[in-house]
């Protein structure tokens, strides 16, 4: 794992796990890997991994089943996607807008390029 400087590591791990949900690697209702498995795969401190897991619990992405482990909630995927959308609107879009201003790009130019890319 490469660590970027923008987020504390526990949040990066939470995102990494969320990515697995989005991609379907952890199926709906599926079991989250254990703290130990995550630590072993990433080389990240288990305490830090635990914080990531707690963040996911807090956000309703996973729920704990006593004695069995942590499992995805039914709306886990939607929640993650919504959160990512919100992040996109709060962080990436303002950056794009600022860059557009600096480069004098028009909405039409952006629209054309985006349409082409989305095909």
């Amino acid at each position: 794992m490469d660590f970027q400087q923008s987020q504390p590591i526990f949040l990066q791990i939470a995102d990494w796990l969320s990515d697995k949900v989005i991609s379907g690697e952890i199926p709906p209702g599926g079991q989250m890997p254990s703290v130990r498995e995550i630590a072993s795969e990433t080389g990240v401190n288990p305490n830090t991994v635990q914080r990531a897991v707690e963040r996911l619990l807090l956000n309703g992405i996973i729920q704990s089943q006593r004695g069995k482990g942590n499992f995805l909630t039914t709306d886990a995927r939607e929640r993650i996607i919504n959160e990512r959308k919100q992040r996109f609107f709060e962080q990436q879009l303002p950056r794009l807008a600022a860059e557009m201003k600096v480069l004098d790009l028009t909405l039409e130019e952006i629209n054309n390029e985006l349409s082409r890319l989305l095909r």
Binding site: Q4, Q7, R36, A39, S40, G43, N45, N47
Partner: protein, 290 residues
């Protein structure tokens, strides 16, 4: 818990390595022990393990290491960097598995299955006798063996010295996995690992607390969480209060006050520079207790 009060130690009566050193390390963290060359990282670990006798009050779980109490020694493993004395270094005329069998008889929670995994992942040459291995191979063999001892306290002195790039990554993963495993079924206490190192990048993500040693005593001891809530690292904007800066490849890298209330990622390398070069600016923000 490791508790150290008024630690005093010198190799000779005139040269003091530690003077009035105080440190309290609660269980349940992987500590990175940082400090300049010769500051005493190896000495501190050796003192805690009971190889050296210092003056002062110090104990692990209430037991004085100087007593060399068997119950304590079974739960403490010292993994030293033998590079300091290459001629005295590893003379073991055995292969790793033979040494493993010996250690398994001494450390009650020795984990043979984990050792196998560690040996494979670190690519330790099991067919060679230890004294015939290169320094890096010896270091890997010893690290695998020490981790497999599965003790509550593990003190590793520059374990990645001489390790190739892939092994450093594998080592980190193995430490993380080993740390997450309880010593035995009844384990109620968390493990504690202290790793002394120069290469902080190797251990990024693995350590969750730092101990920075200065001349004769401790400059800083804090969790990365606490540091990340009080400081931020990177490039400064005009609104930031810069506490320390140094020139980096991409510009001025700074340590700034974090007023956002949100935890920011910690750049351990920068932190170390800032604490050792500008202690009076950085340290007042911390009270040195975890």
């Amino acid at each position: 818990m490791i508790s150290i009060k008024n630690l005093e130690y010198g190799y000779s009566s005139s040269k003091h390595v530690f003077d009035n050193l105080n440190l309290e390390l609660p269980d349940g963290h992987i500590y990175g022990l940082l400090g300049k060359n010769g500051i005493g990282k190896t000495t501190l670990l050796s003192i805690l393990a009971g190889a050296l006798f210092a003056k002062g009050e110090y104990d692990i779980d209430g037991i004085d290491p100087r007593k060399r109490n068997n119950d304590l020694m079974e739960q403490v493993r010292l993994d030293v960097d033998l590079d300091i004395n290459p001629t005295m270094g590893i003379n073991f005329a055995t292969k790793p598995q033979t040494l493993a069998n010996i250690l398994a008889d001494l450390y009650p929670n020795f984990d043979k299955a984990f050792l196998q995994k560690a040996i494979e992942r670190l690519e330790v040459p099991t067919g060679k006798r230890l004294y015939k291995m290169s320094m890096g191979e010896q270091r890997k063999a010893l690290a695998a063996l020490s981790l497999a001892c599965n003790t509550r306290y593990l003190f590793m002195d520059e374990p990645t010295n001489g390790m190739d790039i892939t092994s450093r990554t594998e080592f980190k993963k193995l430490v993380a996995e080993q740390y997450a495993m309880p010593c035995d079924e009844q384990a109620t206490v968390d493990k504690t690992i202290v790793i002394s190192t120069h290469q902080v990048d190797d251990l990024e993500g693995l350590i969750d607390a730092v101990i920075i040693l200065g001349k004769e005593n401790v400059l800083l001891c804090a969790t990365l969480e606490e540091i990340g809530k009080k400081l931020k690292f990177g490039f400064a904007t005009p609104e930031d209060t810069v506490l320390y800066s140094e020139s980096g490849a991409n510009g001025e890298e700074c340590v700034m006050r974090n007023d956002s209330g949100m935890e920011m990622p910690v750049n351990t390398r920068l932190l170390f520079s800032a604490v050792t070069r500008k202690p009076k600016v950085i340290l007042p923000l911390f009270n040195n207790k975890i």
